[in-house]
């Protein structure tokens, strides 16, 4: 398998995951805006910070407004990290590695791109938002299903999954880090129940609002949210879950190639150092520092995978 093909598969799935995560953030923002009278346009700054598109936005606009923010994240031509550009680049990467994907997966990606491109041609109107969000979510599910159902479990698949889970781990860490202060045990005093708008935002951003309530009950506090998103192995977006999957696929590449490259040691070290303690230990270490550390380690891991599998040279 070509290093370049591994690269293309990795980025196809990484960018698709990114687009899906951003759309979930928009959906959350919109939900909160419509259901919480106390909410303000400032919450869109959180959405943009989490997606790492706020700096460029602030260069273009003097203040944060819902309509402009939503359009910025979704499709603004000046935003090189918009959902539309992510999907366009994902499809471009997929086109490059078309021969390494099954027909079902390629058609799912290409068909989704064509649908979404059509929907995002012009400036978004609020009334169209539900349809757009639904289409993006369904497309993501469609590609995921085609991947799960038709791809051989070989190296190609490993690289697809590595892309997905590096992006997802990074995304979850960012979501937590942008609002880490509301999750500290000391924040218990501020909010009294899961009803807290900050907490709802976090949970909805990872599609876990219902799941959390079901598992942890109404009495749960902010530290439980941190525990849920960092250490709960049942949660498919938690850091521990993402790292397990990353290790699984790095190990599988290892046995396919009969060698042990640095990326595998890196993920194992990361797990041992940061994910074998309980949540209290993490708070003691400092939640913000912990998350910053994780984000930088995910970046290193991604770079190491590029080197180990000769993405570029």
């Amino acid at each position: 398998m070509l290093g370049n093909t591994a690269n293309g598969l990795f980025w196809t799935y990484r960018l698709l995951e990114r687009a899906e995560n951003m759309s979930r953030l928009i959906e959350t923002g919109q939900r909160i805006a419509l259901t919480r009278l106390s909410s303000s346009d400032e919450q869109w700054l959180y959405v943009m910070q989490t997606s790492a598109v706020s700096e460029e936005y602030e260069k273009q606009y003097s203040k944060v407004e819902k309509e402009a923010a939503v359009d910025w994240i979704l499709r603004h031509p000046e935003n090189k990290s918009s959902i539309l550009s992510s999907i366009t680049s994902a499809r471009q990467n997929a086109k490059m590695v078309r021969h390494a994907l099954t027909t079902d997966v390629w058609e799912a990606i290409n068909g989704s791109f064509l649908d979404i491109q059509k929907l995002l041609k012009a400036k978004t109107r609020e009334g169209d938002l539900p349809l757009i969000m639904r289409t993006i979510k369904q497309s993501a599910a469609f590609v995921r299903g085609a991947t799960y159902g038709t791809m051989l479990r070989n190296e190609e698949y490993d690289f697809c999954r590595l892309g997905t889970f590096i992006e997802r781990a990074d995304n979850t860490a960012r979501i937590l880090d942008v609002k880490y202060y509301v999750l500290l045990p000391s924040a218990k005093a501020v909010g009294t129940s899961i009803d807290n708008v900050q907490w709802e935002t976090i949970l909805r951003s990872v599609s876990a609002y219902g799941g959390f309530r079901l598992e942890y009950g109404h009495e749960a506090g902010p530290d439980d949210i941190a525990k849920f998103l960092i250490l709960d192995k049942r949660m498919p977006r938690s850091l521990i879950y993402c790292c397990d999957i990353l290790k699984l696929h790095l190990s599988s590449l290892c046995s396919a190639y009969r060698n042990k490259p640095p990326s595998l040691s890196q993920i194992m070290q990361l797990q041992n150092r940061f994910l074998t303690h309980d949540i209290e230990a993490i708070f003691k270490f400092g939640l913000h520092d912990f998350l910053q550390e994780m984000i930088s380690l995910f970046g290193n891991l991604s770079d190491q995978i590029e080197i180990d599998y000769r993405f570029y040279e």
């Binding site: 070509l2 086109k95 021969h99 058609e107 290409n110 590449l253 190639y257 000769r310």
Partner: protein, 472 residues
């Protein structure tokens, strides 16, 4: 110009036999449902990604080649005749290429003037004395054939350097199978689906002598923005080989190798879809970033197969074309089975005069052009076009050839206003290895979509059709 031969109606009195089932089918369908099917077909092409990039238009713009739903039908007798002619012609072209890059017997015999090779940019000096593995130059040929009468077939052009379009042949069939399965139940159409597998086998039969184990074949593409990128990805996928770009390849220890996730791995056969000039910046165009430095040195040592061999472009050069009947006869010792279109070489003084005198009845083509660019169709041209073109002819006559405006046969297409005849040509694809010549029963039928037009090139708005070769 006499009226064109229509492959469905012939002289108009009765349906030709091979089209009887098609006619019955068309009579039984209503127009709205055919229109809906045509829309479905287009959606299918978009979804599969069967698009081409247009040079000169905004980056990344993808267009569909118009697809017509009415198949073009060829009987097995007609096909067998064409095949025999193709085999003879392609063998002769391969022998011709070996000869001109070695002892040049054809020049010594006084059949081809040396000037036709000298100063011809398509004659690759670097190839002189080089022995391609298996002595094969023309692994794949796409020969454009036109029909003018019930029994008259002509070769209009030999595409030897990098013949393209085979993915449309295959996908047109797939689309028809999905759109109109019932047609294939009622008609015995010869299958073409194994083209990629047969091509792979054919390439594997042409490996360098140094190869001992299972050979590694890969397809070299200039990349995503090439107009035929879809075809490159499609073929690599169907053949189960890697699709590589120049930056995936490197010369390692004197052999060609591709960068895999586990380091460099030797490549034995390179199916290149890149112009020779860009192949190797050390041996050809030094500005090329698409190629592989040193590739040609590996090739010269016989350590890698390149398909088609570099330097094959000379054989589809339009000036050489006019010598094709003599070339076929010289190497095969037989009369050519497929006719050439009579061709005037403007480089020769008398012939230039004839062309200037009769320009309004002729088609003038650039010797080194392709894709239907820079040509003049006399009968369709305005006075101004003609006088401009005459100036070019007089200034650089060696750049042009001229041919009579042949009446390409017509086949019905489905238009918004119903069925209407349009001109077509046919590009069958011929695979050659030291073991055999293989021709998949079918080819790419290109069709001029507008009334009366004779230009079938997709870059000029031409469309395609599924091509059926019936079983006997």
């Amino acid at each position: 110009m006499s009226p064109a031969f229509d492959e469905m109606w012939a002289d108009g009195s009765a349906i030709r036999r091979p089209y009887q089932n098609i006619k019955a089918w068309l009579d039984s369908e209503d127009r709205p449902s055919l229109k809906a099917k045509r829309r479905d077909a287009n959606d299918l092409f978009r979804l599969t990604g069967i698009t081409f990039n247009v040079y000169g238009s905004s980056e990344g713009e993808e267009r569909l080649i118009p697809f017509d739903i009415i198949p073009r039908v060829i009987t097995s007798n007609e096909w067998n005749k064409i095949c025999k002619g193709l085999e003879q012609r392609v063998r002769a072209i391969n022998a011709f290429l070996y000869d001109i890059y070695h002892s040049q017997e054809i020049v010594k015999a006084g059949i081809l003037p040396l000037e036709m090779l000298k100063n011809n940019p398509a004659f690759l000096l670097q190839m002189i004395g080089v022995n391609p593995p298996g002595q094969i130059y023309t692994h794949i040929s796409g020969v454009d054939i036109i029909r003018t009468e019930e029994n008259d077939f002509y070769v209009l052009e030999d595409n030897i350097r990098t013949p393209s379009g085979v993915s449309y042949m295959l996908e047109n069939r797939e689309t028809m199978l999905q759109m109109f399965p019932e047609l294939f139940t009622k008609n015995r159409v010869q299958p073409i689906q194994n083209y990629p597998q047969e091509l792979l086998n054919s390439l594997k039969d042409t490996v360098p002598e140094t190869v001992e184990n299972k050979p590694t074949v890969c397809l070299l593409t200039p990349g995503l923005y090439n107009s035929a990128y879809f075809e490159h990805a499609f073929l690599a996928d169907q053949m189960g080989i890697e699709l590589v770009q120049g930056n995936d390849l490197k010369v390692v220890d004197g052999f060609l190798a591709m960068r895999t996730t586990q380091g460099h791995q030797k490549v034995d056969v390179l199916y290149k879809r890149l112009d020779d000039n860009f192949l190797d910046p050390l041996n050809f165009n030094e500005k090329s970033s698409l190629g592989v430095p040193g590739l040609f040195d590996v090739y010269r040592k016989g350590r890698v197969t390149i398909a088609n061999a570099p330097g094959t472009g000379i054989a589809d050069d339009k000036a050489i074309y006019s010598f094709m009947p003599e070339i076929v006869q010289f190497y095969s010792g037989e009369f050519p089975l497929l006719q050439n279109v009579p061709t005037w070489r403007c480089a020769i003084k008398d012939q230039l005069q004839y062309v200037l005198d009769n320009i309004s009845e002729l088609v003038i083509k650039q010797v080194h052009g392709s894709g239907g660019y820079g040509m003049l169709i006399g009968p369709a041209a305005t006075k101004k076009d003609i006088s401009n073109f005459k100036k070019k002819l007089i200034a650089t006559p060696q750049n042009y050839i001229a041919q009579p405006t042949l009446s390409l046969s017509t086949v019905p297409i489905f238009t918004n206003k119903g069925f209407a005849p349009r001109h077509v040509d046919l590009r069958p694809f011929v695979q050659m290895s030291p073991k055999k010549i293989n021709i998949v029963p079918g080819g790419l039928t290109r069709v001029a979509m507008s009334k009366g037009s004779l230009v079938v090139n997709s870059s000029q708005g031409g469309g395609t059709k599924d091509t059926w070769v019936l079983e006997n």
